[in-house]
């Protein structure tokens, strides 16, 4: 039985506007588990809350409610020193290869940053050796440690970011759109690298993306996120081949694919992209072709369709 590296329970993050009223529920009740060595892909568009979710899981932001439990420790119940110590176990790769590396620092210093808190961290020559080791792991040269980020291409910078994420030998890596800013040919390289490292180090992965094709490739399980909640979760292949939630289907349909052939100039029905809310209704109802009166009156709850396949929809299983 594999151990849960990460367990998230009823996580919520509300942002308040002026006057204290809740203006935005970026994350609105999310629960999931990631077992050791397995990958959960979270798919969503802008406004889904996926980046806020990543920050909460990394304990870079405090939740309004809920818990994040890493390797059995409740992250937000820890004293600061203990939390800092635990951070070595989970690291993050950011989306923007140009903004995630300090332009004034050498690559070696950037990569070694997560080591600074380790009391037993290697220093001097031992540290340089460890940096060289991790640089080699990501396909770069040890001599690159002395260079500055602007001397590298986007793909190489992401490799540096990955090296930084791995140097402390974490058990969990959170990747927030790590390849979205890269060219296609480079994307493939970096994705392959991530998978090789994942398999070698038995890393658990939380992989966030807006691109279903990429996520399907990488993830064991997929969670589709809409306006702060998971609307469908299940095994990657299942979600891809037999999506059960209308939003998942919309995502799959919308992604431009080679196989789809020439776009039919069909009159696009007006879809008002109004901000939906989960409080008293299904947030997707305004855009849903199957919406009924019930959908705008009651909040749907997750329904288990099959083992490990949940859908949050009033018409679960019937469409």
């Amino acid at each position: 039985m594999s151990v849960s590296v990460l367990e998230v329970r009823d996580l919520a993050r509300h942002f308040r506007g002026r006057g204290g009223a809740v203006a935005l529920k970026a994350v609105d009740g999310v629960s999931f588990e990631i077992a050791e060595g397995s990958t959960l892909g979270v798919v969503g568009e802008s406004g889904s809350g996926k980046t806020t979710l990543a920050r909460l899981v990394m304990a870079l932001d405090r939740p309004t409610a809920g818990e994040v439990i890493f390797a059995g420790h409740d992250l937000f119940a820890q004293p600061a020193a203990e939390l800092a110590r635990l951070r070595r176990g989970f690291q993050m790769v950011f989306q923007d290869p140009y903004g995630s590396l300090d332009p004034r620092m050498s690559v070696g210093r950037i990569i070694a940053e997560p080591l600074h808190l380790e009391p037993s961290a290697p220093r001097g020559a031992a540290r340089r050796a460890r940096v060289a080791e991790v640089l080699a792991d990501v396909g770069l040269e040890p001599s690159d440690a002395g260079r500055r980020p602007h001397q590298f291409s986007g793909g190489q910078r992401q490799r540096i970011a990955i090296a930084r994420a791995l140097i402390s030998r974490p058990r969990l890596v959170i990747a927030d759109e790590p390849v979205s800013a890269l060219d296609l040919s480079v994307q493939a390289q970096v994705l392959n690298l991530l998978m090789d490292l994942r398999d070698r180090e038995r890393l658990a992965f939380l992989f966030i993306s807006h691109n279903l094709a990429v996520v399907e490739f990488l993830a064991d399980r997929i969670a589709v996120m809409y306006r702060g909640r998971f609307v469908e979760t299940g095994p990657a292949e299942e979600i891809f081949r037999r999506p059960m939630h209308p939003y998942t289907r919309l995502l799959l349909e919308s992604e431009p694919r080679l196989a789809s052939g020439r776009r039919r100039a069909r009159p696009a029905p007006l879809r008002e992209d109004r901000a939906g809310d989960w409080t008293h209704a299904c947030a997707f109802a305004p855009r849903c072709p199957h919406a009924t009166m019930d959908c705008t009156a009651r909040t749907p709850a997750p329904t288990a369709l099959a083992a490990g396949h949940d859908v949050t929809c009033h018409h679960a299983g019937k469409i």
Binding site: S153, L184, S185, N192, N211, S254, P256, A259, R262, A268
Partner: protein, 321 residues
């Protein structure tokens, strides 16, 4: 309307950023330009409409119905731009004037090019806004750009481009900054409008899926020059040069399906795109090419038509037939 590029090149001092770009576009045709970063695709567009950055100069000919745009003075170009060639940009948030209501921005082009009065322009703008499927157009007419979503702003961008009634539309990565569901709607809209007005379309994108869905012919660019041109369907199913086939193989949907799921790997192209204007002799792709041979190094391969309507820049294209 016909657009013909003849040996278009762009130089920055001693460096050549774009070389040997030629193609023809006839009335109503759709051409996709595919390239990664550093391919020069955006530079190509800027050269066509005469908006190259300071210090860069264009060489060659850009013939719009026989008239060379590169030889025209700025004043004449202004009349071609907008009236005959419309442009849609990538970033909807920076392509619109944040201090101006969107209705006015659409009307601006109408007044300048079609010389109609303000009231008529206003009515036409409203009609255009509706035509681009802006939800609740009458109310949104008076909105400022920041009050709209990304997709809505791009609809405004399209309306502005269409207002003077151009014969050619150039869209430079029009949906890259948008969510995928919105992207789909915008692309559908573009396809419909282009077909309806029988405009020609040049669509630039790095996304092969978008090119597949929107264009009849496509041109693949790499490191500042063209590598392959031909019918889109043909190029994406049976490309005749290793770069194009490498790109296709890198797509997740083309990943080999056989074998254990977690052992699957994507077929990437090793190495990086060479720096613009700093190329080694020979084929630009040779350093990264799985099919490179000694003959690829001494000189850059010339462009040749392998089949009617299908050209490549590769000496090993026959091997892929």
């Amino acid at each position: 309307m016909s657009l013909a590029l003849e040996n278009l090149a762009v130089h920055l001092g001693a460096r050549t950023l774009l070389a040997d770009m030629s193609f023809r576009l006839e009335n109503g045709a759709t051409l996709g330009i595919v390239g990664e970063s550093g391919s020069g695709k955006s530079l190509l567009v800027l050269a066509i409409i005469g908006l190259l950055p300071e210090g860069m100069r264009a060489e060659g000919r850009v013939l719009l119905d026989g008239e060379d745009l590169l030889a025209l003075p700025e004043s004449a170009l202004c009349h071609r731009r907008g009236a005959r060639i419309g442009m849609i940009f990538q970033e909807p948030s920076t392509a619109l004037n944040p201090a101006m209501r969107i209705g006015e921005q659409i009307a601006e082009g109408l007044i300048w090019h079609r010389r109609i009065d303000a009231a008529a322009a206003r009515a036409e703008s409203l009609r255009l806004l509706d035509h681009v499927r802006m939800p609740d157009a009458a109310r949104r007419f008076a909105f400022y750009p920041h009050e709209l979503s990304g997709g809505q702003r791009q609809r405004v961008g399209i309306a502005i481009a269409l207002a003077p009634g151009p014969e050619l539309l150039i869209a430079d990565e029009p949906t890259t900054a948008l969510d995928v569901t919105v992207e789909s709607e915008i692309l559908d809209l573009l396809a419909e409008l282009v077909a309806e007005a029988r405009m020609s379309l040049i669509l630039i994108s790095h996304d092969l899926g978008i090119i597949a869905g929107m264009t009849e012919r496509c041109l693949v660019m790499y490191a500042g020059t063209r590598f392959e041109e031909g019918p889109t369907e043909r190029i994406l199913s049976k490309p005749l040069n290793p770069y194009t086939s490498g790109l296709l193989a890198a797509l997740p949907e083309r990943a080999p399906a056989a074998g254990e799921r977690r052992a699957r790997r994507l077929a990437g192209i090793p190495g990086n795109v060479p720096s613009a204007g700093r190329l080694s002799p020979g084929c630009r792709f040779a350093d990264r090419c799985a099919m490179a041979i000694a003959a690829c190094r001494p000189a850059e391969p010339a462009w040749r038509a392998l089949e009617p309507g299908h050209g490549v820049r590769c000496i090993r294209a026959e091997a892929l037939l």
